[in-house]
Homo-oligomer: 413 residues x 2
């Protein structure tokens, strides 16, 4: 049981047994679109989270962190349209209030409810409308509409982001599924969005935290849209054991690896959806670094290239300006040695052995025409590899963030 | 002699006595604009430089570094339109050749000639045209047209950048003047452009290097356009002693301070010109951080805010979205404490004592209308301060770098 066979399945964050959810428009956003969701497990869950490292963290991240001290939870309440960030004491009270109302309506302890917000910064929540919405959602839970939950956390996203897989574990079928949001204020140094992932495997809370950290490091921590660290980013994992498969603890090394691989499959798909849906994006850019000495070295180089605006703009223009790839690569400093690295842009070798490589101009002209572009760098130093994902930089990103496009409350965040 | 009275004077990099220069169109660029310059001192100079830390450094940076090992120089040859970067062995030979031809034409030792290039990456120089241009320039040196030298190093710059000052030193009038270029590929972590500064003060080479490092740290190292570290960035200082003022060595602490303050005055002016002339810019943004414990802490926070694309785009749109200021501030992590910091956006207090501050909506609406925006942050921790400069992020930046605007050889860099 050293390799994991996972199959993609529908159901998103409700694919795992024993999870129900609901979403609604409670009135935070001006348009009639969902802006509040509730996700509940029928059974108590081991729970883990990764949170933004921004020092202007939003109120709900403090409440979620406090409620996770016991490493257990049973529900998540989340809203879009308002980040509840830079809102002072009133904002803290409102974030707590959201968990209190949900706990009361669901008959749970308040510390078993986690809370997330995303949207505009510095504006107080319409808390009465949110309370009313939560009470309504608690009566409307079902397994029917996972996409609606994904929609309820969208801000400038152009599509709901969900993915789920099934795999075999000790003869039982286990599910891992998730939803995520994020299109701007996506930076490379942390969990940079909202992501909720559920599983019906029973998992020891410490193992769950380890697996989540490992998988986030290789998925959400490898994407960037604009290098802007957010104030609200949160990834939460809930494991409820409803599958009946044996409980996973520290001693189950092989099964842990199977589980974390399945978890990574889901998070990586969600991360790529976020990168490809970056504000204004027309292309998904994948930067694959191989031949590094360590994973961290490979990831650092891949992410440095992914955040180089000049390259992102050139690829938007489908300019085969490979000089910007090596300039970006060199800006990673450290172990980058021009005499050892090999660089391929969209399958065309442009640099190796310390010299530029000749290539066919016609091939180069069409190489960047697709919706996806792969940049591959071989560091020539070792065996480690990592990928980073981003999108091209377009006028539309600027227009959206300058407020020149879209209604005001779509610019939230 | 603890405060320096400097007066702005014309003359740019030729303001100091004993320096001459010339510029021409040698044929690197397609348009008939200057693309090659030669700057020569009549006397041997102490010389110092700061160079890019990019690992894909251009060939001329290696040659300049080697020629500076003796800390003396007498001439700089520089071209725009071609970066001579990622050009392999041929590029190294061409960079050396530029210094050899200049040395021969000027009757100098080859190691007394420094070389810089800026422009497109990965393309070989038309070296015969460059050689011919250098030979011509050596016969055309004068003190008449400092602006022409500034123009010869421009790429996407919209105007030539030059500044000079005069000050008194031990009864003598001393001059410090410089030119610079840079509009894109401007990152916050180093000397990120070309800058040449001359003085007719005689300065010990080690003192000159110290003063240059100190002044670059507070000027060019405080600007950012796009966070993209370049491959060619070089700042060179030449001190020839032609003023007759006493030679400045390690023992002259007061005079060193006077000189480095004058140097900073020139470099800061040039740095602000670069930030305000960022590709596509409509506004110069100044981020002033006070109340930090150390200069480095203050600068790190200021530069983090200066590179936050979401904020730069919002300010382009003149959106009073102060939430993006605190999100950017918080992403600097470290010592940022929301309970201690005070934030003013364009003179409007938006955050203090851990709470958002009420402000007049009409004031906020017009506060961002000018060509300059000041963001002031008081960390509430100590006495140190620093500033960073950047520009707003506009569609024009994206269009230029996607190749959707301007002729192809204006996109060089």
């Amino acid at each position: 049981m050293t390799s994991t066979k996972t199959s993609a399945i529908p159901g998103g964050v409700l694919a795992a047994d024993g999870f129900r959810g609901a979403a609604t428009h409670c009135g935070i956003k001006a348009e009639q679109v969902p802006d509040l969701m509730l996700l509940v497990s029928d059974l108590p869950c081991s729970a883990a989270a990764t949170l933004t490292r921004n020092r202007f963290r939003a109120a709900p991240t403090y409440v979620t962190e406090a409620h996770l001290r016991n490493a257990h939870a049973q529900a998540i309440v989340a809203n879009s349209g308002n980040a509840n960030c830079a809102t002072g004491a009133q904002g803290m009270a409102n974030a707590r209030r959201m968990t209190e109302v949900a706990a009361e309506a669901l008959n749970l302890r308040v510390e078993d409810v986690l809370v997330c917000s995303t949207g505009i910064i510095g504006v107080q929540l319409p808390i009465l409308a949110v309370e009313q919405g939560i009470r309504h959602l608690a009566t409307a839970l079902s397994r029917d509409n996972p996409e609606f939950l994904a929609r309820a956390i969208m801000t400038t996203d152009s599509f709901p982001k969900m993915h789920a897989v099934a795999f075999e574990c000790a003869g039982y079928t286990v599910h891992v599924g998730g939803i995520a949001k994020g299109a701007g204020m996506i930076a490379p140094n942390m969990a940079t969005m909202l992501g909720f992932v559920t599983t019906d495997l029973g998992v020891d809370a410490a193992v769950l935290a380890d697996c989540l950290r490992w998988a986030v490091d290789r998925s959400f921590n490898c994407i960037s849209v604009d290098g802007c660290m957010s104030t609200n980013d949160t990834v939460i994992a809930l494991a409820n054991g409803a599958s009946g498969a044996p409980f996973l603890d520290r001693t189950d090394r092989a099964e842990s690896e199977v589980f974390r691989t399945a978890l990574l499959t889901v998070l990586e798909e969600l991360a790529k959806m976020i990168a490809g849906d970056g504000e204004g994006a027309t292309k998904l850019l994948t930067i694959r670094v191989v031949g590094a000495r360590t994973f961290l070295e490979a990831r650092r180089v891949a992410k440095t290239i992914a955040t180089y605006d000049l390259l992102r703009a050139a690829l938007y223009g489908e300019q085969f300006n490979w000089g910007r790839v090596v300039a970006a690569l060199g800006s990673a400093q450290g172990a980058v040695d021009p005499r050892r690295v090999t660089v391929d842009l969209a399958g065309v070798r442009v640099w190796s052995h310390g010299e530029p490589q000749p290539f066919d101009a016609r091939t180069a002209k069409t190489a960047l025409a697709g919706k996806e572009v792969l940049i591959q760098v071989d560091m020539g130093l070792g065996q480690a590899a990592a990928s980073a994902w981003t999108c091209d930089l377009t006028e539309k990103y600027v227009r959206e963030n300058a407020g020149h496009e879209g209604p005001p409350d779509v610019q939230e965040r």
